[in-house]
Symmetry: C2
Subunit: 400 residues, 2 copies
C-alpha cells in the first residue's frame, strides 16, 4: 500500500500513535478533502476490542508501474482474523510500509491493517499491467493482505480476477471457506459417487460448504452439530443445503449410534472424517471411520486436544492430517490457484454453492473514525462470542 | 497342517478336550512311538496361563503334492502372541484343521496352535515343489501360522527361504521386528544421511532395530526410554547399537529439553517420530517434530490414547500414521516380501543388525505335556510382566 502520509504525525512513540491518528483524522476533516481512505489498523497484538482503530488516511497516489490500485467492496470478518490480531495465529501480516514509516531518521512504528479476505474492484492500473482493467473484480491470494480498508495498492500476482457475474457476497467469501472445504474433500482420499463423509461442526462456514460440494459430487454426508433450541430449523437448513443426515453430539454418544450409521451406509466404510472440534466428540466420530480412513482437522473449537486410541492407527490404518488453506496457497502455483477459483465459481454459478448467511456492516464515509472503531469492535465482540451464526462482511465507504 | 489324529479322541465337547488331550498323550506314550510332534494349543481365547496346553500328536504324514513338511527350530514368544491368545488382537489364527476336526459326523472343536513367527527347517518336500529341499531354512510369511510346534505341513507360498549363513536367532526373529523398523524408516518420509529421527520405547525390540538401521543409513536418532536403576548400562548398550542420544521421559518433560534438541540438531527439522508408548510423553515428543513431519505409531505401551494439539496438524502439517507389519505383508507381493527379507539378511550379514538379546526356552522331548505346559505358561507370565527385557525363543524338541 502506498499512502501519502505526513511523516510528522507518525513519528510518535507507540502509545502516542492513536492520539496521533486522531489528529490526522481531524486534520483531514478540516482540509475538506473530497474523499479519503480508511483502514482498520492496530500497532500491537491484543484483544481486538482494545487494539483496533479505524484510521482515515489520504487517497492513494496513482499506481506505480506493474501495480494496480483497488477499492474494497466487501471484506469478511473471519474468526481467524481475530486470532491474527491477538497474535496467536501462525500467519503474521507484514506491517503496512507506508503507514508504519514515519520517514527517514525517525523511529519506525509498525502499523498493521487487519483482514485477510475480501472482494475489491480495480480502480487504477499501472503501466505494464495488461490483464486487468478498471472495474475488474479481484480477490486476494496473498495471505493477510490487510483487506479491512477502503483502498490499497497491490501487485497483480497477489490478486486473482473473478467474474462480475457472481454476486458480491459470493465473490468476497470465495478465498477461505470454499477452498478449505473443496480441498479437504479432494486432497486426501479418492471419493466416488455414493461414498460417505462424516464431519463435525457441520453448521460452521466450512461445514456448510462441505455439505454442498459433497452433495454436488454425489457424496453422502453425516453431519454432527451441537444440540440447541433451534435444532429442528438448523437441521432443516442443513438438509436443504444437501446434508444426508444431521445428528447431534448427544446422539453420537449413544451406544446405538454405530448401528444406525451401519444401517445408513449399508456397512460401507466411511473413509473421510472432517474435524473442526477435537476433544471427546471427535474421538467418537473417528471410531466410526472404516479401514484406511483419513481424518482431516482444520479447527479445534472445543479447545481440547485430538485424542485417539492408538489402535485406530495401527490396526485400522487411520491417517490423521491437518488442513490449512494458507499453506495450500503457499504451496501452489498461480495456475493451480486460478483453477481452484474457477471450479468454485462454476459451482456458484450452477447454484450448487450458495452464499453464506451473512450480514453486512457498513462503515459510512460520514462516520468519524471513533464511531467507526466502536462499530467494528462491537461486531468483533459479537463474533468472538461464537453465537452469531452469520458471517459479518465489512463494507467500508471512503470518508468525506 | 496335516496330522493323523484319532477321531475318537477329539469327538469330545470343548470342556472335555484337554482331558482328551491327556488321553492322547498317554496313548502315544504307551504306543512307544519313536518320536512324535508337539504343539502349544488352545481351544478358546483367554489368559494364556489358563488356556494354553502342550499337546503331543502323531508324526506328520508325507507332504501332499505342492506342500512341504517343516520342523521348527526356534519360535519367538512375542508380546503380540499373548494378545492373540487373549483374543484381543485383530489378527485371528485359523483353527488347525486336523486337530480341530474329530472326523465325519461329529461336532467340530476348534483347536488353535499358538505362535506367529519362527524359523523352520524343511524336512520333506511334496511332489511339484522344485525350489525347496530338505534342510533348507524357511520363515513364515503367513500370519498366525502356528509356530509353537515341532512340525507342520505348509504351502510354499506361505514360507520364505532364508540363508543358513545367518545364525538361528537372527533367522528366527527376522519377520516381525526388523521389517517393522525398516518399513517405518522408509515408507513415510524420504530421509537422507544426517537427518534426524526421534523414537520412544527405544529399548524395545523394534526400537533397538530402529537404532541400528538408522545408524546404518547415516541417520541420527534421539531415543527415549523410561528412567530405571540400570539407566547407565542401558544407555551404553543403546549407544553401542548406534543411538545418537538416549534420554529419559523425565528429561523430555523438562522445559529446557527443546533447546537441547535444537542444539543437537543444529535447528534442523525432525521429520519422523516413532511411537510405541502414546500418552503424555508422546505428546511431548511430537511437539519436538518440525514442519511436515510424520508420527508413526506401532504400539501403545502406556495404554493411554495418543493425544495431540490439533494445531500441530493444522499449522505444522503433522501427519499421524499407524504401522502394522501384518498389514504390510498382506498388501505386498511375494517379490516385495523377498526383497525386504534380502535387505535385512544383508544388514545382518554385514554386522549392522545384531540378533536381539534373548534366552532360549527348550522343551525337551522327554518332558511330559503337563511339564511342558507349565514351562510355557511360566515364560508367558514373565513376559506379560514386561520387565524381562530379553526375547524368549521357544525351542520345542520332538517328543519320544
Amino acid at each position: 500500500m502506498n499512502v501519502a502520509f505526513t511523516s510528522r504525525t507518525l513519528s510518535l512513540s507507540r502509545p502516542q500513535l492513536f492520539r496521533g491518528i486522531r489528529k490526522v483524522q481531524s486534520s483531514f476533516a478540516t482540509c475538506s478533502v473530497l474523499s479519503a481512505n480508511r483502514a482498520v489498523v492496530y500497532t500491537s497484538n491484543g484483544d481486538p476490542s482494545q487494539v483496533l482503530s479505524a484510521l482515515t488516511f489520504s487517497n492513494l497516489p496513482p499506481p506505480p508501474p506493474n501495480t494496480v490500485n483497488v477499492r474494497f467492496l466487501l471484506s469478511p470478518i473471519n474468526p481467524a482474523d481475530i486470532n491474527v490480531i491477538e497474535g496467536v495465529y501462525p500467519a503474521k501480516p507484514n506491517p503496512n510500509a507506508s503507514l508504519s514509516s514515519s520517514g527517514k531518521g525517525s523511529q519506525d512504528e509498525p502499523v498493521f491493517v487487519a483482514g485477510n479476505e475480501g472482494l475489491a474492484e480495480v480502480t487504477n492500473v499501472g503501466d505494464g499491467v495488461t490483464h486487468l482493467q478498471p472495474n475488474d473484480w479481484v480477490i486476494m491470494t496473498r495471505q493477510q493482505a490487510g483487506t479491512w480498508s477502503t483502498g490499497m495498492n497491490v501487485k497483480p500476482q497477489d490478486i486473482l480476477k473473478v467474474p462480475r457475474s457472481l454476486n458480491d457476497v459470493e465473490a468476497a467469501t470465495i478465498t477461505v471457506n470454499p477452498p478449505t472445504a473443496y480441498n479437504m474433500l479432494h486432497d486426501f482420499v479418492q471419493l466416488n459417487e455414493g461414498d460417505w463423509v462424516i464431519q463435525n461442526g457441520a453448521n460452521g462456514a466450512v461445514g456448510q460448504v462441505v455439505i454442498q460440494i459433497a452433495a454436488a459430487k454425489g457424496l453422502k454426508t453425516i453431519n454432527l452439530i451441537r444440540n440447541r433450541n433451534d435444532i429442528a430449523s438448523l437441521t432443516e437448513y442443513l438438509s436443504n443445503l444437501g446434508a444426508t443426515h444431521v445428528v447431534t453430539y448427544d446422539e453420537l454418544s449413544d451406544k446405538s449410534f454405530r448401528q444406525r450409521v451401519k444401517e445408513w451406509t449399508g456397512g460401507k466404510n466411511i473413509r473421510l472424517g472432517l474435524n473442526c472440534v477435537s476433544g471427546k466428540p471427535t474421538t467418537l466420530m473417528t471410531r466410526l471411520l472404516g479401514q484406511n480412513a483419513h481424518l482431516v482437522s482444520y479447527g479445534a473449537m472445543s479447545k481440547e486436544p485430538l485424542s485417539l486410541p492408538t489402535s485406530l492407527f495401527i490396526f485400522k490404518n487411520l491417517t490423521c492430517h491437518g488442513f490449512w488453506q494458507s499453506r495450500w496457497y503457499d504451496s501452489k502455483s498461480s495456475g493451480e490457484r486460478e483453477k481452484l477459483v474457477e471450479t468454485l465459481v462454476g459451482l456458484m454459478r450452477a447454484g450448487k454453492l450458495k452464499e453464506p448467511s451473512h450480514e453486512i456492516l457498513t462503515i459510512q464515509g460520514s462516520e468519524g473514525d471513533e464511531e467507526a472503531s466502536q462499530k467494528i469492535r462491537h461486531a468483533i465482540a459479537t463474533l468472538a462470542k461464537g453465537q452469531h451464526g452469520k458471517k459479518i462482511l465489512l463494507k467500508m465507504e471512503e470518508t468525506f
